[in-house]
């Protein structure tokens, strides 16, 4: 209550209002451009914040983060290209809904769910900063390793018909994640003498290659065979029956996103995939997932928007950024001589409360600007396919180049596109590869650190209570999925046996 009362006056501060609207608009634009991550979008604003009031500067940066997390879903739905890493899960059902002529509804669900997730995240940020940050403090290397394993365990349910193919796809992602510098010793691995590979391969290059470039290659291979689906150029928010149906998946997404946001290094991508998986597990219509399920959009969008708020908790409470984007936010604090941490709440409380107010305005602004800019995006998707694909190719090439100004990165993305093309041809799923890529570093670095801490005693993973709980949960996920597959296979065999007997 005290926090709420302290925040209210800032809702009327013009500098906070302007910063919030400008930031969220900029963020939506940046997030919607494939290859332009939220952190790049924020970093481009940093020089402009030097001369601003500290409160407005922080709000500008944080609002950009909020806008970008939503903006990434726009190209994910319209052109099967996640605008941000965290929007990769939205591609699964969002693009399918687009193909069914429901792009407007998909975008409406994304915006509405993003609003819900953001509001939940903001409420938690305001109410639970201190308690949640103490949970983050309790995470040790074994717990982080177990968190990575939990993330990987969803492969068991995301592998489609063939678990073996899903595991191979996941291993491809883990293999790519080993390229670069060894996380413990700092030695080079699989760089083949290339300086460009020393820093590893950014997941966004692989994701854009796998999802977007391979889609362009697939469409090029089917010249004249593709029936273009025209989307209605209108935004549709879900009606009450659909909104009611989406509540459980939004709650799941918001909860997982809020938790993952607090964990440094966990982030929007893991949250969105875990939410997708859990929403499917608890849904009354799991068979619809991957084929245009509204819940398949609601869950990841709630999650990645909740992350945008709760990821700020470790920065505010301890001055520890858990991601590239929050590192930029920390930079914004430091530019103005503000040291985040426990003392910030005492010495610069007005900046904190201004930030809360600014985020609230940014979330409302996200709805308004999201609606205002979407008709333009929907118009774009109705353009003739050859032109649309040519411009998308140009956009992808430009976006990836803009990350480091390196043509080598663009070449990597093209290679990932070729890999994705052949994975499609041979019916390998993409999602496990993305999971392996995103979680590979987390899993390996914390596994090895844990063994260093324990003197090579593997019991450390069991002795740590958080680690044990997460590993048990992972085991249950995997076992449950295998049991379901076994039952399904048995039923199929029984049906086949019955029909063979009948033909007798």
């Amino acid at each position: 209550m005290e926090t709420l009362l302290a925040t209210l006056p800032f809702l009327l501060d013009p500098s906070i209002l302007i910063a919030a609207f400008v930031g969220v608009t900029w963020g939506i634009l940046g997030g919607a451009l494939p290859g332009i991550s939220p952190s790049i979008t924020m970093a481009l604003l940093l020089p402009f914040t030097y001369t601003m009031d500290p409160g407005a500067a922080i709000v500008l940066l944080a609002s950009t983060y909020v806008g970008a997390e939503y903006g990434g879903s726009v190209p994910a739905i319209l052109i099967r290209t996640p605008g941000t890493n965290a929007a990769a899960a939205t591609v699964l059902d969002g693009y399918e809904m687009n193909l069914q002529g429901k792009a407007g509804l998909a975008l409406g669900i994304s915006l509405y769910s993003g609003f819900i997730g953001s509001m939940v995240g903001l409420i938690l940020l305001m109410l639970l900063s201190a308690p949640l940050s103490s949970v983050a403090l309790a995470f040790t290397p074994p717990a982080y390793f177990a968190l990575g394993i939990l993330g990987l365990s969803v492969i068991a349910t995301l592998s489609g018909d063939s678990l073996v193919k899903g595991l191979i796809a996941a291993l491809l992602g883990l293999i790519i994640a080993t390229i670069g510098t060894d996380p413990v010793t700092g030695s080079n691995r699989f760089t083949f003498g290339s300086a460009d590979l020393l820093g590893g391969i950014e997941p966004v290059m692989i994701m854009v290659g796998l999802f977007a470039m391979s889609e362009l290659l697939a469409q090029a291979s089917q010249r004249g065979e593709v029936n273009k689906i025209r989307s209605r150029p209108r935004i549709e928010f879900p009606d009450w029956p659909l909104a009611k149906r989406l509540i459980p998946s939004q709650l799941i997404g918001s909860t997982i996103g809020s938790f993952e946001g607090v964990m440094p290094g966990a982030g929007g991508t893991i949250a969105s995939f875990m939410s997708y998986n859990e929403a499917r597990r608890w849904s009354k219509y799991p068979e619809e997932f991957g084929k245009g399920s509204p819940e398949g959009i609601a869950a990841p969008e709630s999650a990645n928007n909740a992350v945008a708020e709760t990821a700020i908790i470790p920065v505010l409470s301890f001055g520890i950024p858990g991601s590239n984007s929050t590192a930029i936010l920390l930079g914004g604090f430091l530019i103005h001589g503000l040291q985040p941490g426990p003392m910030l709440f005492v010495q610069a409380g007005d900046v904190i409360y201004g930030l809360y107010a600014g985020l609230f305005v940014a979330i409302i602004g996200m709805m308004i600007m999201g609606i205002a800019m979407l008709p333009l995006c929907v118009w774009l998707v109705n353009r003739p396919l050859p032109y649309l694909n040519a411009v998308i190719l140009a956009l992808i090439l430009s976006g990836i180049y803009s990350i480091h100004g390196s043509l080598f990165d663009v070449g990597l993305m093209l290679a990932a596109g070729v890999l994705g093309f052949f994975m499609r041809m041979l019916r390998f799923p993409f999602l496990p590869t993305v999971l392996g890529l995103v979680l590979g570093f987390l899993v390996e670095s914390n596994f090895r650190r844990s063994l260093v801490l324990s003197g090579d005693d593997y019991m450390i993973f069991v002795d740590d209570r958080i680690s044990l709980a997460l590993l048990v949960l992972s085991g249950l996920f995997i076992f449950g999925s295998l049991a379901r597959r076994a039952v399904a296979a048995l039923r199929k065999e029984n049906r086949t046996a019955f029909s063979e007997g009948s033909d007798g």
């Binding site: 470039m213 032109y387 040519a390 411009v391 190719l393 140009a394 956009l395 430009s398």
Partner: protein
């Protein structure tokens, strides 16, 4: 008869084998932990190789157990795939060509060539429209990335004009 799963299994085994070879070349450091830089890569390599063989074996068994109708269906699955792969390779060639010319010609000019070329390749009619979309698209993207977002795009031959 080669099915998709056979091809996938063979590819995975090959990738696993190559990765294992290079992982075994990683030099262990005396400062390394007990797992070392080689540890998990070796695990991943063996798993990929093993799962590739399993997939190959599953595919072989499925082919041996398949009915003649299934055999025909599987043979049909590859029909036209070579042609489709070549079309996709063509698009890839355009993208690779862009990489080769962008630093020399500059971002704006390269895009103005790439967009209409790709559009025509993908089926747009030759005429003023692809050129207009190409030039317009190049200008919009240049304004967005170079001017609005401040990304340092290659200038190329238009350097003297400040573009």
């Amino acid at each position: 008869m080669i099915t998709r799963d056979m091809a996938g299994g063979a590819a995975a085994s090959l990738i696993g084998a190559f990765y294992l070879y290079y992982a075994s070349q990683l030099r262990p450091s005396s400062l390394a932990d007990s797992v070392g830089p080689q540890g998990l890569p070796l695990v991943y390599g063996w798993l990929t190789l093993g799962l590739g063989f399993i997939l190959l074996a599953q595919a072989l068994i499925a082919v041996l157990r398949a009915s003649p109708a299934d055999h025909a269906k599987q043979a049909d699955a590859w029909t036209g795939q070579g042609r489709r792969t070549l079309w996709a390779a063509g698009l890839l060639a355009f993208a690779a060509g862009y990489l080769l010319i962008v630093e020399a010609l500059g971002y704006l000019l390269s895009l103005a060539i790439l967009i209409p070329a790709v559009a025509i390749y993908l089926g747009a009619r030759i005429g003023w429209r692809p050129v207009a979309v190409g030039v317009g698209g190049a200008v919009v993207l240049w304004l967005m990335f170079d001017k609005l977002l401040g990304v340092d795009m290659p200038e190329g031959v238009l350097r003297g004009l400040g573009l």
